[in-house]
């Protein structure tokens, strides 16, 4: 771009002339004083100008080499890889699971046949919270929002006939239960005759965001961070190039995308500092991180992702002195839910398609998208298939995979990228001022931002100021009922029987020993994973292991939560 100041001066004059002679009359015709156009809502509104020109790039001091660079090279704004194979533009993932391991196994096979490249295991709430299906707290929840998993035996059934290395990757949410999730896969791999280097695992393992948004925690926050970083340390030391931890922005997206990404970065910083404290060097583990970006429409989505890549790269290089490009080139994961509605659910097909497109345009590495009925119940087979097709059509029928970072240089998107970067860094500095992510969460800062911003949005939808088709605009009285997936009511009963059978068949003395060992290790600074792995191999249940943690660390008191 010509930095010739005379050229810019001329451009400025011509633009002003256009505004006066052509734009102004057109605005007059539209009607009396039109309000400033904005995208976004609340404190995170971005005024949108009538037009963006090279002047805007000048305004942000845009320097291609410094700010954008080349893909696969610092600051990695255009992507972590120098090029992409258009036939493999991103990894097509699907989040699935419900009921018993047997039922989910059938669904997984179906999804793999339909082209899913990665299965992300959705576990039910009892599993996520460390309760076995026979625990009183599990009543009514077994197998509802995901598959009921309690032991290695369940994992074996879940992946029966599905070798872990037959998929490009396999994943699980595994947040507060991170070490157990890791152990499940390693032990399963062993049962399948595989060494961990033969397959790739993704574990979300972002326990901080449980405390900040999702609330599946059950032990105190610092102990949970220790467990999460134990998982990363284990993978780093065993040279497992798995995705051992995610800094998640998605779950905070109610707070607005800038705040949400700031929370993700603050969490990452906390995890990294813990790992450095444990004696690891940044380049040993930073590549095991993923950034789980959030669902924002079109331009904001692309811009915040480009900004996030730049922020991560700078953070790794300047704060932590990373040398390995793998540490600085963050990989991105995304989940499209796209403000799905319960009203007129078929509309969600369109929303999710557009959302997925945004991520494709932004060059996200791993994408999974919701099914249109996900807000109502577990997806039907057809709905799940449709969400795979959505990705496949984008991946193989569209032009998108053929261009890397098509928005680079766009007057508008580069301006928005710079703006969002500033906002993210502003929130990040506020959090650092408080002492970091843990302190911010304990003071309710993350939580408050979600409620504040969410309130503005809810009111805007309630008054109709923010259109939401089917909810406050173009409502219809009766929706044609969509086919809904119905759970087998006997799930809980069966699972309780499964646990009883397991406890009969296994070597209970061995299990007792292993649990005792976990107890010892938990009370020290040692990495918890090996002891958990032994217990998992011996068929200890998830609930039994978590009970030991609850005992040693104390249970998380919800009344103390923000």
């Amino acid at each position: 771009m010509p930095k010739n100041s005379r050229w810019l001066k001329e451009l400025k004059e011509k633009k002003e002339k256009w505004e006066q002679t052509i734009l102004a009359p057109a605005l007059q015709k539209i009607g009396p004083k039109r309000e400033q156009k904005v995208i976004g809502i609340g404190h995170l509104e971005h005024p949108v100008k009538e037009i963006y020109t090279p002047l805007d790039l000048e305004e942000i001091g845009f320097d291609y080499l410094r700010d954008v660079g080349f893909p696969g090279e610092y600051p990695f704004v255009r992507g972590s890889e120098p090029t992409k194979d258009p036939s493999k533009p991103w990894l097509i993932r699907i989040y699935a699971g419900f009921g018993t391991p047997e039922e989910s196994n059938k669904r997984y096979k179906f999804l793999l046949e339909q082209g899913a490249e990665e299965i992300v295991v959705a576990a039910d709430l009892p599993t996520q919270i460390g309760y076995d299906p026979d625990h009183p707290m599990s009543a009514g929840e077994v197998g509802n929002v995901g598959v009921s998993l309690a032991s290695l035996k369940d994992m074996e059934i879940l992946f029966k006939g599905i070798p872990l290395n037959s998929m490009r990757r396999v994943g699980i949410l595994g947040n507060t239960i991170g070490p157990i999730a890791l152990a499940f896969f390693i032990a399963l791999g062993e049962k399948q005759g595989l060494s961990p280097n033969e397959y790739v695992v993704h574990i979300q393992n972002d326990s901080l965001k449980e405390y900040g948004a999702r609330n599946t925690q059950f032990i105190p926050i610092r102990d949970s961070v220790r467990l999460a970083t134990d998982v990363v340390q284990y993978c780093a030391e065993k040279r497992l190039d798995w995705n051992a931890i995610n800094a998640c922005a998605a779950h905070y997206q109610v707070a607005g995308c800038a705040a949400a990404h700031a929370f993700a970065f603050a969490s990452a910083i906390t995890y990294i500092d813990y790992l450095i404290e444990k004696g690891l060097h940044i380049d040993e583990f930073a590549h095991l991180f993923n950034l789980f970006t959030g669902g924002e429409p079109t331009f904001t989505g692309v811009a915040v992702i480009r900004a996030a890549r730049r922020i991560w790269a700078r953070l790794m290089k300047e704060r932590y002195g990373a040398k390995d490009p793998r540490s600085m080139a963050i990989k991105l994961t995304a989940y499209t839910v796209a403000e799905s509605t319960a009203q007129q659910p078929l509309n969600n097909i369109v929303r999710i398609a557009f959302g997925t497109q945004t991520y494709a345009l932004a060059g996200v590495d791993y994408i999974y998208n919701a099914s249109y009925d996900e807000g109502l119940a577990i997806p039907t087979e057809d709905a799940a298939m449709l969400s795979l097709r959505t990705q496949q059509i984008l991946a193989w029928e569209s032009e998108i995979p053929f261009v890397i970072d098509p928005f680079a240089g766009s007057y508008f998107v580069e301006s928005l990228t710079a703006k969002l970067e500033k906002e993210v860094l502003h929130y990040l500095s506020e959090i650092e001022e408080m002492g970091g992510a843990i302190e911010a969460i304990e003071r309710g800062y993350f939580q408050r931002k979600q409620v504040e911003q969410g309130l503005i949005k809810t009111i805007a939808i309630s008054t109709g100021e923010k259109p939401h088709i089917g909810v406050n605009k173009f409502k219809i009285n009766e929706s044609a009922p969509i086919p809904m997936f119905r759970q087998d009511v006997e799930v809980a009963r069966k699972r309780i029987e499964d646990i009883k059978a397991l406890k009969r068949e296994r070597d209970n003395d061995k299990v007792k020993q292993c649990l005792e060992n976990i107890r010892k290790v938990a009370a020290t600074n040692e990495n918890i994973v090996p002891s958990v792995l032994d217990a998992v191999r011996a068929y200890a249940t998830l609930g039994e292991i978590c009970d030991v943690w609850r005992d040693v660390f104390g249970s998380f008191e919800f009344s103390k939560n923000y």
Binding site: L125, V451, S462
Partner: protein, 130 residues
């Protein structure tokens, strides 16, 4: 003479953890002139009802997003009936249309599934007897 305010107890039953929705509702109810108590997460029906009695509320609002509503809400209704407690229940969240009917049949006063207009709930509460 004192003013009479509608007092609402908001609760999350079961293990579901997303609570910013409930908190937003609390604010909107406050803005509508109600007095709102949120009892927090992972509550049992017994805990919620005990609080509702002590606070002598006009209505109990249950938020449920994990699909456990056909288990937790009937239990709540059962306990209220057992102790002859005349406190109406309203529920909101991920409740599919067929379950709305079933819940109303067992005695839930009104359901406001995700996406329902908050003003509907506000009007409903305003009309409750003091």
């Amino acid at each position: 003479m004192g003013e009479k305010k509608k007092k609402i107890l908001m609760a999350k039953l079961g293990l579901d953890g997303h609570d910013f929705g409930v908190k937003i509702l609390c604010q909107m109810f406050r803005n509508a002139g109600f007095e709102v108590i949120y009892t927090g997460q992972r509550q049992s029906p017994e805990q919620v009802i005990a609080a509702a009695i002590d606070e002598d509320v006009n209505v109990i609002g249950i938020s449920t997003l994990s699909g456990a509503h056909m288990h937790t809400i009937p239990r709540t209704v059962e306990i209220l009936k057992k102790y002859n407690l005349n406190i109406p229940i309203i529920a909101g969240g991920t409740i599919p249309p067929e379950d709305v009917q079933k819940l109303k049949e067992i005695g839930v006063a009104e359901i406001f599934p995700t996406g329902a207009d908050v003003n509907g709930a506000i009007e409903f509460i305003k009309k409750l007897p003091d």
